[in-house]
Amino acid sequence: MLVPGKIQHIICTGNLCIKEVQDYLKTLCPDLHITRGEYDEETRYPETKTLTIGQFKLGLCHGHQVIPWGDLDSLAMLQRQLDVDILVTGHTHQFTAYKHEGGVVINPGSATGAYSSITYDVNPSFVLMDIDGLRVVVYVYELIDGEVKVDKIDFKKTTTATHSAH
């Protein structure tokens, strides 16, 4: 499913650990953004990163810096700090997506389903964002019991809060 040429940007929250994984991701797409996780051997990744894709500002952070891990309010603070519409964090190895205060906080989960000390039953998952003007459609791909399950969430960038179509 992950073939080169279909994806324009890759945003990685961190903990790739070794360079080979980074190289593999590079083969999928040359535009790669990574932030540093606690187990990364590559020390030159930044702690946080912001980028603009289309009309959206995205923020990237591994998440182990934000305590309590995975707490929405704390992450919202980070989002305000970075001044982004979409904040992508990780570390919890669990997929979550919140619409919060006009922005979106996404946790894509663990791409490999690696062991986590805070989560049971980690399923490998990743998120595909289709950014189209003022609208972003989030496709969640999860590997559950050997099958890929896909789910879709719509977000629109508006000043007023809207429900996530989850």
């Binding site: 279909k6 994806i7 595909l128 609208r135 459609v137 791909y141 879709k152």
Partner: protein, 825 residues
């Protein structure tokens, strides 16, 4: 954009409106739609509206179906789509996303071309609205016809179509301004004049448009009825009436539906609408299914161009073929975009007016197995006009093309068609050539072409085929050995025939007999031995040297060539009469025969290249050896493959003879070549062989004849005047027998003076000039020949080597004399 409205003067030949339709001449978009078969040619406005509406509905449906946007949820599917299949990363080809991505790729290709479309008219073509329309149309068409896909150039075909629709709409708005009242919504016949005042006020403003009565009644509020208007204006009004048949969808000149209409026009143009010319074929890279030639259609069409060119301008054609300029190098662009890149937009519109006004239905069924090879392009009036237009363009550049030395400069000139041209003349010429093209596609000549085609097909790679085949009578392009060998074999058989028939002759010059015997002997010998191949190879070395010299010569003789070649195909096209007649005459045989022999021998010596040159000089109708007897047969035969081959073979053989044994010499004294002089030159070139001695004798005789010919200027032969060039035999013309004629022809030479018109004088002068050049060539090659003599393995060779030198020199001297003589004339 009003400055680009089509108000320029139309050439007299354009603006053709079929008799049955109302005056749509100024509404190009409408006219083209009718011509392309989208709208019926009937005159009823309602019909037009209905058909327009239908075609637009079709397009709208197509658009809805094919232009997929997975972002937009489909109507009617309230339940969420199967995301496992329908997600963007899905590799399932059925998913909407896959289609979306495929479309996106296609769009990228299209955009590349569109961004570079008509930069000189960018005020219209580069606007986002126009670009969007073009993009959608192209996308939809390519999606609808996935077997064609998108090829560069399609956008150039589409752009003018959209442009003319745009122009129509502009015209409509013009008319609308002028005849405001007519456009008031007349729902059920009752005009709604909500703003009575302003309407009338505007009405008054345009009161001084002198075109018709409405304008003249400036101050009155009278509303003129529709019928009193100009029929054209009337049509415009009716066509754009929002309440006519089919309502708004039926407004024939509508801005809203420009995209739909342009799509229909484009589709009709590409598919050809049951006609013979379908532009989509030109974009295909593989041969069409029912193609007779097994070539991609555009290559075949380019071959058709060269075929037509060979008929009308054979000197130019041979020149191009010699340079190796394959027609598809330039014709590809011409055909694929229908000359869109060669002319300015306005000129192009005129040309397309003409092309579209021609009927596109196929004229005769192309059958697979027939021996009649016809070009698909020439199979319809429209296709013939396209071909004729291309040929007239080539001819327009004739002088500059003939002056080029290399293929690249030739192509440069062809690909950069000059800006300021007399379009009217070009179109007129194209029309005249069109008739010719249609004719030529049906005559047996095409079978000759096809025959030659078939037999060489297997040997030639496909790109070479067109250049080889296009001129059945001239084989000037470098060909592989096998071709020469084949020709030689055919020629060989012809020689035998002639040999038998000539055996009974009583050749006047004494040397002839000896020569004939020798030839007989030689022939029998050569039959068994495979020496020809060797000789051919020997000659190859000298080709290059001679070639360049001969190229110049060919240019000089272009005039004669034209005449000669023209005669071969179409008597009417002859510029020079004598070449035509060559076929017909048989009577100069005696002289010719004797001359033939000398010629033959001389020619034997010259290299193949010389042969090529000369072959171009020979009037196609290789003169009937026998004179007279089978003239007509000869004519037809000439068009047959065999004769062509044999003729060429003969020429070749003659030329090769220097290396070959003298046996090769083509016998038939009967052979008469319309261009004796060049041949004499080549003959002068003959290297050491025994024939040389005979040659000198023959030369004398010929020389005398030449003199007498000069005096005979005024004589006229009934019909056959080829004598202009003393019946020079070209050696081995296929068929025939000359025997009877030889005897009879002896007394003729002098009496037959042929009509020496001014034309012939001129041509003779040219010939003399050519001869001189030839002599130079021969002399230069002579050195080489000597080296090659040793390769001969014939008996005569041993004997002749020693004596050849002397005879050759004398022969050359004689040639010089002759040429001087001619130039004096």
């Amino acid at each position: 954009m009003s400055k680009e409205i089509v108000k320029e003067e139309a050439p007299s030949s354009s603006g053709v409106a079929p008799a049955e339709s109302p005056a749509f001449a100024s509404l190009r978009g409408l006219q083209w739609r009718i011509n392309l078969g989208i709208l019926p040619p009937s005159s009823s406005i309602d019909d037009l509206r209905r058909v327009t509406a239908d075609s637009r509905r079709r397009y709208a449906g197509l658009r809805r179906q094919l232009l997929v946007d997975p972002h937009v949820p489909k109507d009617g599917t309230s339940n969420s789509p199967n995301l496992v299949m329908d997600n963007p990363l899905s590799q399932n080809p059925d998913s909407t996303w896959s289609q979306f991505f495929r479309n996106a790729e296609l769009e990228k290709m299209v955009n590349q071309d569109l961004s570079r479309l008509y930069p000189e008219h960018e005020s219209y073509f580069q606007t986002p609205g126009c670009q969007g329309m073009l993009r959608r149309i192209l996308l939809l068409w390519c999606l609808r016809h996935p077997e064609c896909g998108y090829r560069q150039g399609m956008h150039e075909l589409l752009a003018p179509l959209l442009y003319v629709l745009h122009v129509d709409v502009e015209r409509l708005s013009e008319v609308r301004k002028l005849y405001e009242d007519q456009f008031i919504d007349k729902f059920d016949g009752f005009p709604f004049e909500e703003n009575g005042g302003p309407c009338n006020f505007d009405f008054k403003k345009f009161s001084d448009s002198g075109e018709d009565e409405i304008g003249s009644q400036g101050n009155s509020k009278k509303v003129c009825s529709l019928d009193e208007l100009d029929p054209e204006i009337q049509a415009i009004v009716l066509l754009s009436d929002a309440y006519g048949a089919e309502g708004e969808l039926g407004i024939v000149l509508s801005e809203k539906f420009m995209e739909h209409d342009a799509y229909c026009m484009f589709d009709a143009l590409m598919i050809g609408a049951r006609g013979s010319v379908a532009m989509a074929d030109f974009f295909a890279s593989s041969p069409a299914a029912e193609s007779q030639s097994g070539l991609p259609p555009v290559i075949e069409a380019s071959a058709a161009l060269y075929y037509l060119l060979s008929i009308v301008g054979s000197s130019l054609h041979t020149h191009l073929v010699e340079l190796g300029v394959e027609p598809q190098y330039f014709a590809l662009r011409w055909l694929r975009v229908l000359f869109g890149r060669e002319f300015s937009l306005q000129n192009l519109l005129f040309i397309w007016d003409e092309i579209f006004s021609e009927d596109n239905s196929p004229l005769d069924k192309v059958s697979e197995d027939s021996d009649h090879f016809s070009f698909k392009l020439l199979n319809s009036c429209r296709g013939a006009l396209i071909a004729a237009m291309a040929v007239s363009m080539i001819l327009y550049l004739r002088s500059s093309l003939l002056a080029t030395e290399t293929a690249t400069s030739c192509l440069q000139r062809l690909l950069k068609f000059p800006e300021s041209i007399n379009l009217k003349k070009l179109l007129e010429k194209a029309k005249s050539l069109q008739i010719l093209a249609l004719e030529s596609n049906k005559t047996p000549l095409s079978s000759a072409f096809g025959g030659a085609y078939n037999c060489t097909k297997s040997q030639m790679s496909s790109p070479n085929v067109p250049s080889v085949l296009v001129s059945p009578n001239t084989a000037l392009s470098p060909l592989p050995d096998t071709y020469w060998e084949e020709k030689w074999r055919v020629l060989h058989k012809a020689e035998e025939l002639r040999q038998n028939s000539s055996g009974k002759d009583t050749p006047s010059p004494s040397g002839k007999k000896r020569w004939a015997e020798r030839v007989k002997f030689g022939l029998s010998r050569t039959e068994s031995c495979p020496s020809p191949a060797r000789e051919e190879k020997c000659k190859r070395d000298s080709h290059s040297v001679r070639r360049t010299l001969l190229e110049d010569l060919s240019k000089q003789l272009g005039l004669e060539e034209d005449a000669e070649k023209g005669g071969c195909f179409e008597a009417s096209n002859l510029e020079d009469h004598h070449s035509v007649e060559v076929q017909g005459e048989g009577q100069n045989c005696a002289i010719k025969e004797s001359l033939c022999t000398t010629e033959n021998r001389c020619e034997n010596r010259s290299g193949a290249v010389v042969c090529e040159e000369n072959s171009s000089f020979f009037p196609d109708p290789p003169s009937p050896p026998g004179c007279g007897i089978n003239d007509h047969e000869n004519d037809t035969e000439k068009s047959s493959v065999a004769s062509n081959l044999s003729v060429d073979d003969n020429d070749d053989l003659q030329r090769r003879s220097p290396e070959d044994s003298p046996h090769r010499v083509s016998l038939p004294p009967e052979d008469v070549s319309p261009s004796p002089l060049p041949e004499n030159e080549s003959s002068g070139k003959t290297s050491s062989t025994k024939e040389r001695r005979n040659l000198s004798g023959k030369f004398q005789w010929f020389w005398k004849f030449g003199r007498s010919n000069v005096e005979e200027t005024s004589d006229k032969r009934g019909g056959t005047n080829e004598a202009a060039k003393p019946p020079i035999h070209d050696g081995n013309r296929s068929t025939a027998d000359s025997s009877a004629t030889t005897a009879s022809s002896n007394p003729h030479p002098i009496s037959k003076g042929d009509t020496m018109d001014q034309n012939k004088m001129g041509t003779l002068k040219n010939l003399g000039q050519a001869m001189l050049d030839h002599i130079q060539v021969l002399e230069s090659v002579f050195q080489q020949d000597q080296g090659q003599v040793g390769l001969l393995d014939n008996l005569s060779k041993n004997i002749l080597v020693g004596k050849g030198q002397v005879t050759a020199v004398t022969a050359l001297k004689e040639l010089r004399k002759i040429s001087n003589l001619l130039s004096e004339m």
